[in-house]
Amino acid sequence: MRALLRKDLLLMRKAYKPYFVSILLFGIVAAFKPDYTFFTVYPFVLAALMPYNLFSLDERSGWNAFSRSLPFTTQQIVGAKYIATLTMLGATWALFALLQILIGGWNAGELLHVFGILCAALVAPALSLPAAIRWGTQKMFYLAVGLIMALTGLAFGLILGSRSEWLTDGMPVPAAVAAAALMFVSYKVSVRWYQEKEF
């Protein structure tokens, strides 16, 4: 598992530098102007897309087949992508929180609001990773992306729309529970489909 995480980390560092710079820049703007939702949402979308992009790279380079000849279990191969997802989104949230505290001062409501966005952002990888495993990142790409965007947009809408109600009142638990449940089901489906997949 450590080898898989190291490989994904190295790949992210080498292939997605612009992503990291964008996330940092957007984080700074969002910390100055918390009302600009776009600046908060967009970096989370970028972070959420990264595991899908990693999977696409693995597919094109032949790593997917090669890794099946290495001593990894299916759970480890699939699990590494989910850990990468959670790490990326968690790190993005931590960066936003840090910038917000440093620039805008302590604001618990705003931090919870961003946490809600993090939960909504998990919808994209939870849907896209099993789809990428089942149909490949090229095949059915537009259909998958369209559906994923729609559902992720809906999740963002729900979170942002209810901002003033339960999130800022310090009740992000339902969003966190729903996101965790979705990721768990997604992981289970991914493992099953990965086992059935031929390379």
């Binding site: 450590r2 080898a3 190291r6 490989k7 190295l10 790949l11 080498k14 292939a15 790279l57 693995d58 380079s61 032949g62 790593w63 997917n64 087949a65 090669f66 890794s67 099946r68 000849s69 290495l70 001593p71 990894f72 279990t73 059935e196 031929e198 390379f199």
Partner: protein
Amino acid sequence: MNAIEIKGLEKRFRDFALCGIDLSLPEGCILGLIGENGAGKTTFIKTMLDLYHRDAGSVQILGRSVPEDLTEIRRGISVLLDDVGLPPQFTAADTDSVMRDTFGDWDSACFFSFLERFGVPADKSFSELSQGMKKKIGIALALSHGARLLVLDEPTSGLDPVARDLFLDLLADYTRREDCAVLFSSHIVSDLEKICDYICFLREGRVWLFEEKDRLTEEYGVVSVSAEEADKIPQERIAGIRKTSYGAQLIMHRSQIGPDREASPVTLEDLFVMMARR
């Protein structure tokens, strides 16, 4: 013990099928897999390793069952597929760091020394290397941990003659350890002739011939006859044929060659080409 033991292996696709493959490879030996394009060599290797899920049959590698013990089996084998499978952004150092975490017995010094012997620039990323250089990294990778079985799909394709020669020497060194074995597929029959103990000739998804290499070359001979004579010989006595404007060359089992004919020794290349053209 056999490093590989396969019985009745089958894999069916819509337009191709691997049928009833029986094969075994003793430890300490090298098995060469040969066949025309589309004969099923890669399909066979992938089905054996469970990259394709088999429809029937059983596979044992290093005494363990596939797919039940696959993770344990993979600790003891090295696989080089046609696509080496490393990320294009990776340098040799990146590959080394990932493999160190993958195999408990990974030998970094050995890996870099192979790269040096093959003349692979360690600082370049994988995407910057030629096809041959990529293959060399794949070979170095396969040989740098304590694998007891190497499974190599077309390892010499894209390699220059010097690198091919070095690779064959490395394989010969590798199988000096009696508990190690190699399965490798190739179109380059001369490579197989140099190094293999066993030859498996695949054709249209079936094992056409599986035999010790020395026995093959001992048991078969080339008989030169006129075209008219060739037509008179019953087809079942002819294993392979090549017709030219000067006559015909027949590959025949020595037991099928009468005392009135003289047979010259057969090379593996002749055996393969003429059997394929029969």
